[in-house]
Symmetry: C2
């Protein structure tokens, strides 16, 4: 059934199905934003980033399954950005929330390196790349 | 229904439900193993680690939903480890597979920093911490 729908679409649009999806829905990505003022080591950054990634993905599946699965089909594009501190991190979180994007913030359990409850990361999406860029365009790559 | 079952268990065992789960099923964790011989920058490490984390989590949900959800209840404990190269990474992957653990390896899409198809990371679990430790005990923290 899905295969037939794909074939029909490909014939109508004279294009590969994946291309059609990309053109119609835009490209998708997930943004992971990490604080750089906490002196977190590499392992800690990876762990907090993975927290944010999984939680944001779960929010995205709740909000729009098609977007989440299209992102997986595209190869799970991720962008990893830096925030100078808690304030900058939360401004991004609030903007994403206001704009209706699936977003999560991570508080560290505090077992290693930093005090319990410290805000460490924000994850946004997967969602339309353009809408994520709008919110994160002033942030630098980690 | 679930709430009632919890109450019954708590009365029978004279313990908090979360404690019962921990005692009966052990503690859970997820291991993320990253190669250190590719010179990946921090952002790249976080992105590859997040890939591994999400994929391994999906495998874990397929394999044993109860373990995966118990891990979430416990606060998503993660351990981030280093592998010296492709060979060491794949030995870990194969061991985990043989032992029946949910495991995934990540090949980079090759858009930045390293050639397409390069093996970068392995994710294991969430699964019983003891069974993950058996496989990863010789690896150092990233």
């Amino acid at each position: 059934m899905i295969k037939r729908a794909k074939n029909v679409l490909e014939r109508v649009f004279h294009r590969d199905f994946e291309q059609i999806i990309r053109e119609k829905m835009g490209e998708f990505k997930q943004a992971i934003i990490l604080r750089t003022d906490l002196g977190m080591g590499k392992g800690k950054l990876v762990a907090q980033g993975a927290h944010a990634s999984i939680h944001a993905f779960q929010r995205a599946v709740e909000k729009n399954k098609e977007f989440a699965y299209a992102w997986e089909e595209e190869g799970c594009r991720k962008i990893v950005l830096r925030a100078a501190g808690e304030k900058e991190l939360m401004v991004i979180y609030e903007k994403a929330k206001q704009n209706g994007l699936p977003v999560t913030y991570i508080r560290d359990a505090g077992e290693t390196q930093i005090p319990a409850g410290t805000l460490t990361a924000v994850g946004i999406g997967p969602w339309k790349a353009g809408e994520i860029d709008e919110i994160t365009r002033d942030l630098k790559l980690l």
